[in-house]
Amino acid sequence: MNVLLPLAALFPLALFALSAFSPWVRQRLARLLWLAPLPGLVAALFAIDGAVTLPGPLGLALDFPGAMLLGAAALIWLAAGIAAPAFWREKLETLPYQSWWLLTMTGSLAVFMAANLVTFYLTFSLVSLAGYGLVTRDGGAAAFRAGRVYFTLAVVGEAFLLTAFVLLAVGTPSGSMAIPDVVAALPASPSRDAALVFLILGLGSKMGLVPLHVWMPPTYSAAPFPAAAVLSGAAVKAGVIGLVRFLPFSAALPGWGEALAMVGFVSAFFGVAVGLTQRNPKAVLAYSSISQMGFIAAVAGMALAAGRLAAPSELAFYALHHVFAKGGLFLALAAIATTGPRHLRPILWPAIVVALGIAGLPLTGGALAKLAVKDALGSGLAGTLGSLSAAASTILMLHFITRARTIAASDDRAEAPLAIRGAWWIAAAAALLLPWLLFPSVAGSIGKVLEVKAIFDLAWPMVLGGVAFLGWSRLSRRPELPPGDVLIVLRPAATSVRGLTDRIARAEAWITTWPVAGTLLLLLAIGFAGAMVAAR
């Protein structure tokens, strides 16, 4: 049963190796890409609580929250794998497309199974760096510009995470690298605060929490649809599993908890506010991701403050729904973009239900997700903020639906290929139905969902959101912001950095002239002599 874990992680890698070295496999693999995540799905279903140590510093283990997210990620990869051949057609038979697709998949599936710091860091970095290949797959100036921002933030985030892990490892007296031991030793370790700061920064850069979200909107709006689907669906959840695994929920840390919750809520509302100013539906979805990830961070924060042991599975459950909802909506956009107005209805109506589900439409998967995390938020200020964020999400989703309709194909009889529509329907079904199956094992009996109070708690934010949206759509002139709002501010920063590198290069050119280098050699000789004599 343990063998399923390495198989799930290494199967896509093996396919990558095969496709890299034999053109024969490469032709056939294009249509069979959806097979790659299957071992992951099987592992998620049957290998829960499995653990295996690979040679060297690597090791895999799977617990219930990990299994949920692994299964969800595998499913969305499967759906995207079905849509990809229809979307990219013959381009998918070339090495670059397959290699970046399979590498990102390896990283994004394995990150949920990482058992120790090194494996988690490897898989986290792999999904980030390989993601760059997916983002810039179809080329284009916008894609490469977004890719540069994405790559910078990915590498910076990875550096933060590495610092956090080193601080965690240094703080663990036993010196073991396994995640449970490290997290157990965290509250008492001397470098706890620094570790938590860098952890939040590292995972936040992946999840798109506000200061570090600038890469998400341009990247998702520039990336091709299947790439955007898997990146927003599965890849972002590497940050969520990070929170689930590394936050010490057993020890209540009110200070840190509230701080994280505050960042989370700021991201939630910021995402909606800027999302409303976007015209491109992909950008709107990107901001919806920022908002949802903010909400998850807020829930995690509150759970950390209260020291809630059940938080990991609740967070994972909420994220599971988000995988299907967000990944699915991107696939829906792919379908909408290629269908004429006449065939739009069978794609648009499920999109509306799933979109509103994100905001917590009663009886949908989203509602279950909201209910699962309601206890963690508690009834105080956080609870009301949670409901307000649901209302905000409603406005954003309605905005998304109006925007989504505009990108429908002009040719009336155009019909999206069945593969893309099929993939969307799979994701939609998973978003709506799968939470119902998993809810009992996460947050108690189904009955709770059907209580009048629960439905009312979910309904009033939706109504409030709807009314607010009507008011909003009446506004004649609405502000316009390019995707990646804060980027405008950062643009001059980028040019100044380039200026800095020019200056460094000029300085280096001057230093490497013979007289200067010779003088420096003499200076260093005297400097060392002085330093040592002074130390005496």
């Binding site: 090194v118 490897l122 790559f151 590498v155 460094i504 230093i511 130390a535 005496r536």
Partner: protein, 504 residues
């Protein structure tokens, strides 16, 4: 000076073989028929690898360093050879990389067994053996003047490799390298003179026992350090490295970048951790650390800006050498029992090893790319993945180690040094290491992304390349990755027999 301490140990003869075998190889190379020169060279290097592996085994078995009194004379009068744990590891590294480079370079440089004798193969194989012998002597030498002669042997063997193709630019680069290295070795010789003037001996063990701490020793160590960092091309003094290493042919630049610069670095380690009394090194070590930090930042920024692959990899060497010098502040600052048991010491050695293998693989891959598409301008790398998949795989694996992604040697080194830095609270070194990692990811991706991207016009391979040469480069890259599978903790092997520990 306790006589017991200085007696030839059973495995001692291996040290003599390590030095003499390459020399015999050189002599044989010039006397045998032209057809057989490659076989003589490869046979010599194979024997050398076996000798270094035997040395490592002997050191591990006896858990003490091997000693050999040359000519039977006891230092300070005579010369002794000593191989401690770290020297044995360095010898195996050198032996392995040189052997694989020999396989990579077989049949190259226009070597036609049935044709007339040609200049380039004769020079390449002679200098390759000379570099191996010189490096082995640097790792096992114990007398400061003996090490000076070894350093000169190393420089005289490296310079002709730089100007092997005889073009004007490589000649200028070789000349600049030679004269700057000479300036460095003269400073080193000054230090040797001052040491002998103050203590009457040049043997490191005898000197370490004297526990001298007066001005003369400090002046000597300062001069020697300055000379050696000139030969190691540490940041402000790296003017000669990029043109030299980029101009040399691929096999040669692999050896130059991976091994030659490490020889003089190994001596600085010996000076600072064995000869210098513990308390006095603090300020100087931080100075070296700052230079290393400068190297990491400037080297990486320059590498990011290069248009040609070999220059990019050469500047990457400048940056990765910077990491090595972070060992000084971290090891002297650590509270571990001795600096050799500290995380930073093992981290430094791992960085040295991982960089050697990864850089050798990268330069060989650069050579293969040049042969495959006729140029090494990075802009024109589109579609390389399809033409030379094994070469691109080699570059990817080597890049993983250079970037410091697990499970590679580069990552283990980065992890251990970060742990040392953050453990000691010296967060600024940690910032440097991380910044270096970011920039390394930057310049590495600059190579890999075009290699993996689809070209406009379907690119095709210009010249066929023997698969054994691609596999040779791949083997080195895989070793760089495999080093990452070693445990992430200080290696006891590296602390065996250090002179500072042996003498109470």
């Amino acid at each position: 000076m306790t006589p017991g301490l200085m007696a030839t140990t059973p495995g001692g003869l291996l040290l003599v073989l390590a030095v003499v075998v390459p020399v015999i190889g050189i002599l044989a190379l010039w006397l045998v028929r032209w057809r057989a020169i490659e076989w003589v060279a490869i046979a010599t290097l194979a024997i050398n690898l076996v000798v270094s592996l035997a040395t490592l085994q002997a050191v591990r078995a006896s858990d003490a360093s091997l000693v050999y009194l040359v000519g039977g004379w006891m230092p300070p009068l005579g010369l002794a050879l000593r191989a401690d744990g770290i020297a044995a590891v360095m010898m195996v590294m050198t032996g392995a990389i040189v052997a694989v480079t020999a396989l990579y370079a077989r049949g190259q440089f226009g070597f036609d067994p049935h044709g007339p004798e040609r200049r380039r193969p004769m020079v390449f194989w002679t200098m390759l053996l000379a570099i191996t012998g010189a490096l082995n002597l640097i790792f096992v030498g114990e007398d400061l003047f003996n090490l000076y002669v070894a350093l000169e042997l190393l420089t005289f063997a490296a310079v002709p490799l730089v100007s092997l193709d005889g073009s004007r630019d490589t000649l200028a680069a070789a000349l600049r390298y030679l004269v700057f290295a000479l300036a460095g070795s003269v400073l080193y010789l000054l230090g040797v003179a001052v040491v002998y003037g103050a203590y009457g001996t040049l043997d490191l063990v005898v000197l370490a026992e004297m526990r001298g701490a007066d001005g003369a020793l400090l002046l000597a160590i300062a001069l020697m350090t300055a000379g050696l960092i000139a030969k190691t091309a540490l940041f402000p003094l790296h003017l000669w490295l990029p043109p030299a290493h980029a101009g040399a042919p691929a096999a040669a630049s692999a050896i130059l970048s991976a091994l030659v610069v490490k020889g003089s670095f190994f001596l600085i380690l010996g000076l600072w951790f064995d000869l210098l009394p513990p308390g006095l090194g603090a300020i100087g070590a931080n100075g070296l650390g700052m230079l290393g930090a400068g190297a990491v930042i400037v080297g990486s920024v320059l590498a990011l800006r290069q248009e040609r692959l070999k220059l990019l990899v050469a500047y990457s060497t400048v940056a990765q050498i910077g990491y090595l010098f972070l060992v000084f502040p971290l090891a002297t600052g650590s509270e571990a029992a001795s600096p050799f048991a500290s995380l930073a010491w093992t981290g430094g050695v791992l960085q040295l090893l991982a960089h050697a293998f990864a850089k050798a693989a990268m330069f060989m891959a650069a050579g293969l790319v040049y042969e495959a598409i006729g140029h090494d301008r990075i802009a024109g790398f589109k579609g390389l993945g399809r033409i030379a998949p094994i070469t691109v795989l080699t570059m990817t694996l080597a890049s993983v180690s250079l970037m410091g992604l697990p499970p590679s040697g580069g990552f283990s080194a980065k992890w251990l040094m970060l742990s040392a830095a953050l453990g000691e609270g010296a967060w600024w070194w940690a910032v440097v290491i991380l910044a270096g990692g970011l920039l390394a990811a930057g310049y590495v991706f600059r190579i890999l992304v075009p290699a993996f991207s689809t070209p406009e016009a379907p690119a095709e391979r210009k010249y066929p390349v023997a698969p054994v040469r691609e596999c040779a480069a791949l083997v080195l890259a895989v070793i760089a990755i495999l080093i990452g599978f070693l445990p992430l903790a200080p290696w006891p092997l590296l602390a065996i027999g250090r002179i500072a520990q042996v003498s109470p």
